[in-house]
Symmetry: C3
Subunit: 352 residues, 3 copies
């Protein structure tokens, strides 16, 4: 795969997706089996028994070890074979081809596909709203048959809400408000303020105050593949655009993409908020609604991917509204090129 | 695609198929979106927004213009962008990659895939029975997973009715009657007369007279891909074979093929007749029956295509019964070669 | 196809599968139509009419001849065209591309894909338990999306029963008992004796005696692709391991594989037994149960095949338990190499 940055952390799954039932998931082009040890520590390794290649995800956990369901070869969390039925002892150096560094943070399990020795937990992308005192966070995992960068384009340009989501989150004011795109290092920001407008139903419910509002949408790309969207409203003229959000309500939409193949992706989505914290129903209703909204995006992205595949001679054009996505793609390309230059080629599963 | 003649008119759809809801259809290997302007004029263009390649067929019509459902770019019927949300004005030369000449005639919408400047409405294949005073015409559109030329072979040799349609239109007399194949310019004729036979139920009902009949089937190939089949019966000995059909009943089966890909096709079928004109039920029943008959052909053609794909070393053999189809194929090949010789290569969607 | 031995007999179908309705089946990469003549003799030929390539398996039998359903060309059991509608007589040398030697034996129809002149009925693999005085035999046909050699590996190592079939035929004693692998010419044997154990329910029912038993599983590979598994139990200490099975019950599981493509196969399975001969219900129940057991294997083999396809750099490892399958594969490879060396390359359907 040439579209992702090997030596980076990518989300393998939401915390609740990975447990004591081994999970098979293709991540950055590699087949991975994921599970948790008895103490909850996540484990990730190549999803094929090195004996006869049956997916280990079809196997059974025994304590912290995973036993293949074909001939019963058992491997520990480090990928080393610890039991070979009908063999005297264990054959030397018989082990799963690759064990991946994993770390749990921000309610996600992160995986490092590249060179294991470079995996540093400090490099996990900073999704600070997911672990903030006084806030709550939850979300879901989706699969989309499109290049993950098409989803980043989508998230960095909320103009699309008008035409893609007219019945839900679209609002005419979005088109009427100018955006401001700028970069800070490898981070890219797209800011839109809609001042003195009527709050849409979602935000009216959250704000619990009448009157016009100032609404904001601030998209932030965090390499290699996350977008945090800072959204909220405050009563008009109470100073939100200038930095005082104390009268308003605020949420952070967290979007993290993991390429599955060159043209398919895993999309992890959630929302962090600091209001209605005790209302479990808020989260449940919001996840339900967002599922419907997301399907509208999926329809678009998958149709777009098909046309891109069929028209390799046509380039994606970049206009004003696309500046955020274009800058994010440039960051990704720069990181890939830097790794290549440093000899850190995308790892391949080398022959034995 | 190398199996069709680029600078020719092909049917894009029946008149009733194309309206105010944009229709996506792949024709001669190109992805096309079709719709009608408010005044009914048909429009055809490349089915991808030149911005981010979403199929325009997913978009919304506003008057005569088509707006992309992703970012709201709007294009007029000439493919020129006339509105770009959040952009100051419209970017110069921003337009749909290709707009196709279209013309409506004989109840079909015809499209010209080749060089637009050569498109001349006078070149539409002459399907005169579809627009004849005192006659009525109707039909339907079908999709078949086979090279369109296999269907032309099928239509130019009605011998197949005996074994493919034994329960419906097949009749033993077909095998017993010799055919006569000849060409007039680029048109190919296969004529069969069955004299002094019992009329099959369909024709008995239409003729409304007892007694033996003379029955005819005259297949005419009209390049690049139409077959008109002149069919009918007249009371035996009333002069039909010699040219006097005044005592008989007569219909014209109209078959027009449009390649979709090298191995799939659109098949437009209809019947023109000069009897029972006021019997709307006749048409409805006939379309219903013909749908069943056509599915028998589809089963054959699709199985045939699979075996052809699997046996690239085997050639289709040409015997007496295949003469009509073989001549029609020769005409098509000659036309393709002539265009190539003239430098009129099949158009490709060139890079920007 | 490079994984099978061309000049060998392979099973085309169970005797009851092939009758007066032409059957289409891909065998060793070739599309074959199979039927029986009026006297019951089986016939096999290339499944494409040499005229327009429609599968002949869609055609109609007339006596011993097969008529194509498209244009009615009719072929005798030797593949020669014997009727061409609307043609004067029959075109010389117009015949089906290939007619395959077939022979019926051991309740199977065997086909010879290679050079017809080398086909010798005496070379049919010796499945003697299927036609033994005082024994009965029956079984079924299954399709599996995996290389046929993966199934041979599976059958030559019954260790897998413990983990793949824990709810049915798996038994802990299998893992606890050593195997003995040896070859006799091109035959490979894997023997396992479990002495003084409790009989599993199936064998308890068959033996109809209480007490501990000596149980055996003796797998025998017979080239090119059959495995006979000699199974049974006898009361402990009555001499079965030493050769006296007179106090026990015995069955032979017959497994014959035919490659369909490089990565799919037909699996013919049956059981021959010498007990409860009159109990028709025994056979019916056993086939029903075996279908369920087989689906457990299919799930494993198909998952394994997918991982093998995705990891072309990874080799299947050979440990103690794999010795039988590895030897069987070596025999197959040796036979393929020998044919190649003798200039007996795998036949291809040569161009006309």
């Amino acid at each position: 795969m040439t579209t992702y940055v090997p030596n980076q952390w990518y989300v393998a799954g939401f915390d609740y997706e990975i447990g004591r039932k081994p999970l098979a998931r293709t991540l950055c082009g590699e087949e991975v089996v994921l599970y948790r040890k008895l103490d909850g520590t996540p484990v990730a390794m190549h999803d094929a028994c090195p004996h006869r290649l049956l997916p280990l995800s079809m196997g059974m956990l025994e304590g912290d070890d995973l036993r293949c369901r074909y001939h019963g070869m058992m491997f520990d969390a480090g990928g080393r074979c610890v039991d070979m039925p009908t063999q005297d002892g264990v054959v030397r150096n018989f082990q799963v081809k690759k064990v991946y560094p994993v770390v749990e943070r921000y309610r996600f399990i992160w995986i490092w596909i590249g060179e294991a020795e470079k995996a540093d937990a400090a490099l996990v992308p900073d999704l600070w709203p997911c672990e903030r005192e006084g806030w709550t966070f939850d979300g879901g995992a989706y699969h989309v048959k499109a290049d993950y960068r098409l989803m980043i384009d989508n998230l960095m340009d909320l103009t699309h809400e008008t035409h893609v989501h007219p019945g839900t989150i679209g609002q005419p004011e979005i088109l009427g408000s100018p955006i401001e795109t700028n970069s800070e290092g490898d981070r890219v920001f797209v800011r839109r303020w809609m001042k003195g407008i009527d709050a849409p139903p979602f935000w009216r419910y959250a704000l619990k105050k009448p009157g016009k509002v100032d609404r904001w949408q601030i998209c932030e790309f965090i390499p290699p593949s996350a977008v945090i969207i800072d959204v909220g409203v405050a009563p008009e003229g109470t100073g939100a655009p200038e930095g005082d959000r104390s009268q308003g309500v605020n949420g952070y939409v967290i979007d993290v993409l993991t390429p599955e193949t060159e043209t398919t992706a895993w999309y992890f989505w959630g929302m962090a908020r600091n209001f209605d914290l005790a209302d479990q129903g808020f989260t449940a209703r919001f996840k339900q609604q967002q599922g419907g909204v997301f399907m509208e995006d999926v329809e678009i992205l998958e149709a777009q991917q098909k046309r891109i595949d069929a028209n390799p001679d046509m380039k994606l054009r970049v206009f004003n509204i696309d500046a955020g996505g274009a800058r994010a793609r440039a960051v990704i390309e720069r990181m890939i090129a830097a790794e290549k230059a440093a000899g850190d080629a995308a790892p391949t599963l080398a022959a034995e």
